[in-house]
């Protein structure tokens, strides 16, 4: 494990070693090695079907839900291999939160959406939950817009507000890492801008990993960028370097728009 942060600090760093993932016979990820650093935004880019979303989901074992998936290699978070059979996936997912492509609030009140995770993990106290709900909504820059209607259905919010609600819901279980799977691809430009601003403030407290189709987005907000192609991680480095002087020919072709 070369990632100093993952080994020593424990919180927030992710270290991936020789990761292979198969859907039945076909191999979707080929020998991925990568260190993701705490308090940074790491972006995964690449054309559709390149494995970037699949890779993101290996980081909190959401692929466990898919039939016929086989994974080899190691993903270490806080110095612990999350594919160790002794790992409790519910605790893992509490530590590694996820925000999905399409906003997916539950059909219940804003309050109950945020309180869902904490309640799952055994927090029942009214005042404690009130505090968590407010703090999480503030953390997702949604509090001022919804503070007068937290008891109303979350389905009445706009798409952008729903996505920020989903971010707040993920923050409410106090994760160290936040995975975001194309979180703005279903949103309009103004909502997208708000979410991007939010992500930049989130990295002060969390490790943020985002999959995006949008290269401008990756270059605007991320500190490091990884380029994926056909299940392989072609290049990984500081975002500025990737976008100004990529080392790999394929990366250059992709970011200059020659394919993808």
């Amino acid at each position: 494990m070369s990632n100093e942060a993952a080994r020593t600090g424990g919180l927030g760093g992710i270290s991936v070693r020789d990761l292979n993932l198969y859907y039945g016979e076909s191999q979707a990820l080929k020998n991925v090695n990568m260190d993701i650093y705490p308090n940074e935004i790491t972006a995964f880019i690449g054309p559709s079907g390149c494995g970037k979303s699949t890779f993101l989901k290996t980081l909190n074992r959401m692929n466990d839900l898919v039939d016929g998936v086989k994974i080899t290699g190691e993903v270490c978070i806080g110095g612990q291999n999350i594919y160790d059979p002794r790992v409790d996936v519910t605790l893992l997912r509490k530590a590694v939160g996820m925000v999905f492509q399409k906003p997916n609030p539950f059909p219940m009140s804003i309050y109950d959406n945020i309180a869902y995770g904490p309640r799952c993990h055994g927090i029942k106290g009214r005042r404690q939950l009130d505090a968590i709900v407010e703090e999480s909504l503030r953390g997702a820059a949604l509090w001022d817009e919804v503070k007068d209607r937290v008891k109303k259905s979350a389905m009445g919010l706009s798409g952008g507000q729903q996505q920020r609600l989903c971010i707040a819901r993920a923050l409410a279980v106090q994760p160290d890492i936040l995975l975001m799977d194309e979180p703005t691809s279903a949103l309009d430009p103004i909502s997208t801008m708000k979410i991007e601003e939010l992500m930049s403030s989130l990295k002060e407290r969390y490790t943020v990993v985002i999959v995006t189709h949008n290269m401008q987005q990756a270059s605007r907000i991320s500190d490091r960028t990884a380029f994926f192609l056909l299940g392989e991680m072609v290049e990984y480095g500081e975002t500025e370097q990737i976008f100004s002087m990529p080392r790999d020919k394929k990366t250059e072709e992709y970011i200059t728009g020659r394919f993808g």
């Binding site: 909190n60 959401m62 839900l65 039939d67 996936v89 519910t90 605790l91 893992l92 997912r93 509490k94 939160g97 996820m98 999905f100 399409k102 997916n104 609030p105 539950f106 059909p107 219940m108 869902y116 995770g117 309640r119 799952c120 993990h121 259905s153 389905m155 009445g156 989903c166 819901r169 993920a170 279980v173």
Partner: protein
């Protein structure tokens, strides 16, 4: 000028439209006529005494109170047996089972169960619950028989309701660290509630309407025993079964059959209205 009218085509269209309207209205007319006839013959025989007394030769009373009580007990016990099992099976099929032969076998069995004529359930109930398990002809034996008959409906409607819950809800809950069962309890079942309730109402309709499966198993008893458990353990005809026995009798008992028929029709209308009201509520909820 180009002539853009084509008269012949129009005439054909109108004719066809007329035939279609006729088909639609004759359906409505048939229902109205039949219900009207049933009410016309049945409603005059309904009196307070008819609804609140037992048939007795000594007192000279004719009444359907025992049948009403039996029907309510039959609804309660049949639902008690079939709803938990049916919802459990639907949750297994939809959320836990991972395709494959076992699931196909179960689904095939459920389909087959749904297609069996109810008299065959009655025959099986008579052999198994009444004779082998020695439950006698009783409301309990009848409701166990109905459980088997109702399971396909409950399983399938609950499965449909669960299938209608978007996968993104499941992902969202699992992503927050919820266990599978917690997700089912707190997100899936509440979201599927409207569908599950309508499956229960549908079941009530089938219990109220069933006769063939009950005549052999629950019998035609028309006495009130005075105790809940003794009533459940004794022969008891539901309203539909009483309708059957009165209709088989002679003379004025036909009017009694129509009286019961009127009550049953009113019940079915009420059940349909309730289902529609709840269905509407469910749809509104989804739109949010």
């Amino acid at each position: 000028m180009r002539d853009l009218t084509r008269r012949r085509h129009r005439v054909g269209e109108h004719l066809l439209q007329g035939v279609i309207y006729l088909c639609a209205f004759s359906t409505v007319a048939l229902v109205v006529a039949m219900v009207g006839y049933i009410f016309a013959r049945g409603l005059p025989s309904i009196s307070w005494e008819f609804l609140t007394s037992s048939p007795s030769v000594l007192k000279g009373t004719i009444g359907i109170l025992p049948n009403i009580v039996n029907t309510l007990l039959m609804i309660a016990t049949s639902l008690l047996f079939s709803v938990p099992v049916g919802i459990g099976a639907a949750i297994y099929l939809n959320e836990y089972a991972r395709g494959g032969r076992v699931v196909r076998l179960i689904e095939f069995t459920v389909e087959t169960l749904a297609g069996i004529p109810s008299i065959i359930y009655g025959l099986f109930g008579l052999m198994f619950f009444v004779t082998v398990l020695k439950l006698q002809t009783s409301i309990i034996a009848g409701s166990l028989t109905l459980m088997i008959m109702l399971l396909p409906t409950v399983i399938r409607t609950t499965q449909e309701a669960l299938k209608a819950v978007p996968d993104s809800f499941r992902e969202g809950a699992i992503g927050l660290g919820a266990t599978k069962w917690h997700t089912i309890k707190t997100v899936l079942l509440p979201t599927a509630k409207a569908g599950i309730i309508s499956s229960i109402i549908l079941s009530v309709g089938r219990i109220v309407g069933e006769s063939a499966a009950l005549i052999f198993t629950a019998g035609i008893g028309d006495k009130l025993t005075g105790g809940l458990f003794s009533q459940l353990a004794s022969s008891g005809g539901t309203l539909t079964v009483a309708l059957y026995t009165y209709a088989m009798g002679r003379g004025e008992s036909a009017d009694l059959a129509f009286a019961i028929a009127s009550i049953l029709v009113l019940l079915v209308l009420a059940i349909n209205a309730l289902t529609m009201a709840l269905g509407g509520a469910g749809r509104r909820e989804k739109k949010g």
